[in-house]
């Protein structure tokens, strides 16, 4: 349902004999057009309104952690079809080819300015980063590993919610992940959530809302119920800023809104403030 949010549009200039067509980015927040090259240069931040667009998991990891510090967990894990949903396997096969991912989250260990951590990054290109068996299992394992090895966890969340194609099994991943977060927390582990566009549904109602520190990127969508569902329920149009990061910040559900260009540095400071210093120091 969010797929059209992130449409890169090409605007044709009707300049007569000049057929130059610079690719343009149309911002889903301010609707403004800017050159795609500028948007890319800013790591996908709208130059006009500061909306922080979606990154692939690989891009996110590369701008966040120390070079070559990433050791991935469970890279080969793939979903089965627990409720025999028609065409679920085919759909995933096609997405694997298109995205190079095996499911909607990448997890592993890394260092950020020398501080070791477990990191998880969700990727909305893969079935809207919906949470099925693989997302649930990889996240639970990441927290269990962090608990056993006394590491902090940083989770970049993005999700349309539950993975419909896995039915009730998908819903149960909320319990699985939230349980693992609790286990890690009860052992004194630090968990930082970074909410990215969009974080909704069952992910909001499980591990995304359980961080010791909850950070959001500017102008991103955060919510439990989808906008259309609410509009249909209450039969009125919602204000434009409803469920944006700034709205949830005002309501008291987010500690800070951090711009992408400062994220690595803020995370590094927070890790060090909690005693997670350079390895071996």
């Amino acid at each position: 349902m969010f797929e059209d949010f992130f449409k890169v549009v090409t605007k044709r200039f009707n300049g007569g004999d000049d057929d130059y067509k610079p690719p343009m980015f149309k911002c889903p927040r301010c609707q403004g057009l800017s050159p795609l090259s500028r948007y890319e240069e800013l790591h996908r931040v709208c130059p006009a309104c500061n909306y922080h667009g979606r990154l692939s998991a690989q891009e996110r990891i590369s701008i966040t952690i120390d070079k070559e510090s990433f050791r991935e967990f469970d890279s080969e894990m793939k979903s089965r079809n627990p409720i025999d949903f028609p065409e679920y396997e085919e759909k995933q096969e096609e997405l694997r080819e298109r995205t190079g991912l095996n499911d909607a989250v990448i997890t592993g260990t890394a260092t950020i300015k020398g501080s070791p951590c477990v990191i998880g990054v969700m990727d909305s290109r893969y079935m809207m980063a919906s949470m099925g068996s693989v997302v649930g299992e990889k996240i639970a394992r990441a927290f269990e590993y962090a608990a056993a090895n006394k590491l902090p966890v940083i989770m970049f969340t993005a999700s349309g919610g539950a993975r419909m194609q896995e039915g009730i099994v998908s819903l149960m991943q909320m319990a699985k992940t939230a349980g693992a977060v609790k286990l890690h927390s009860d052992q004194g582990g630090l968990y930082i959530t970074v909410l990215t566009d969009p974080t909704t549904g069952g992910v909001t109602a499980s591990f995304a809302s359980l961080g010791d520190i909850i950070i959001a990127e500017p102008k991103i969508l955060i919510g439990f119920a989808g906008r259309r569902v609410i509009e249909n329920t209450i039969k009125q149009r919602l204000p434009d800023d409803f469920q944006l990061a700034e709205f949830m910040y005002e309501k008291g559900f987010i500690d800070m809104i951090v711009e992408r260009r400062k994220m690595r540095s803020v995370l590094s400071h927070l890790l060090k403030l909690h005693g997670y210093n350079k390895k071996g120091v």
């Binding site: 894990m77 649930g136 419909m164 039915g167 939230a178 109602a205 439990f224 119920a225 329920t233």
Partner: protein, 268 residues
């Protein structure tokens, strides 16, 4: 009497028969019960009731989603769709159950958490997430029973437990078949077809490891014999509550974690 009904027939049965609600069951299962109100943070959500009472003489805490039996009751209890304060009231009473060493019994009966502006503003996601995480380590036995429908995260907010029982015709789903059809096929009218492929029946829940027990309903459904269905629920609770109370609490918590930890289907 076990009958073979399709998922769709069961949905009709749960929705269209004047099926008993927690308010019908309370006096037939528990004694000396007192309702407790409010989350101490914002208000008192009438979609969720909390009570302290006795089961076979043993003090227990009861938390339940409340369906109305007519339109006036439904206006008060918001058709059993809780706001965040309903989940926060539940958590407050769950912690109290832990403090006073009372087992916790949750009755699930909701189409889902309420979708509205106020619910979002007061942090529906956070409220459900917190309950899931806290129930996972609550140091007292938790038994949950699905009475009619268990819809999505709104059900799971009372659904982390040591054992889940389903009434024979009850359903548990990731979202309503109507919502499912409208999201996946952009056609809400295909809800019947959706209900049959979603795997939402009590038998499906046992097969998928979500539920442990099915409580038999009287012939034709729970509404046909309130005394009989209440007796069946009570019989189940009278057996399972002492059994869980006897267990070492650390063992129980480990098993509770494992129950949810092992649900999923993947290859490596």
């Amino acid at each position: 009497m076990s009958e073979n009904k399709t998922a769709w027939e069961r949905i009709q049965l749960v929705h269209n028969t004047g099926r008993p609600t927690i308010n019908d069951y309370l006096p037939l299962i528990f004694t000396d019960y007192y309702e407790m109100h409010g989350d101490r943070l914002y208000g008192d959500d009438k979609a969720v009731i909390g009570a302290v009472g006795r089961l076979d003489g043993r003090p227990v805490t009861i938390i339940a989603q409340v369906k109305g039996r007519d339109i006036n009751e439904n206006k008060v209890c918001n058709f059993a769709m809780p706001h965040p304060e309903g989940y926060r009231k539940a958590l407050r009473l769950a912690r109290q159950a832990e403090k006073f060493h009372r087992p916790l019994i949750c009755f699930i009966d909701t189409p889902g958490a309420f979708c509205g502006i106020a619910a979002e503003e007061r942090g529906m996601g956070e409220a459900i997430a917190k309950n899931i995480a806290e129930f996972m380590t609550l140091r007292t036995p938790i038994i949950s029973i699905v009475l009619g429908e268990a819809g999505s995260g709104g059900a799971l907010g009372l659904g982390v437990c040591d054992e889940l029982a389903m009434l024979e015709n009850a359903q548990y789903s990731v979202l309503s078949p109507r919502g499912f059809a409208s999201i996946l096929w952009k056609d809400a009218s295909r809800e019947r077809e959706a209900s049959e492929i979603m795997r939402i029946t009590a038998e499906d829940m046992v097969r998928l490891g979500v539920a442990e027990t099915i409580i038999e309903e009287p012939l034709g459904g729970a509404h046909n014999d309130l005394d009989k269905i209440s007796e069946n629920i009570k019989e189940y609770l009278s057996q399972v509550i002492p059994e869980k109370c006897q267990k070492d609490i650390d063992v129980l918590l480990k098993e509770r974690y494992t129950k949810f930890r092992k649900i999923g289907a993947f290859i490596e």
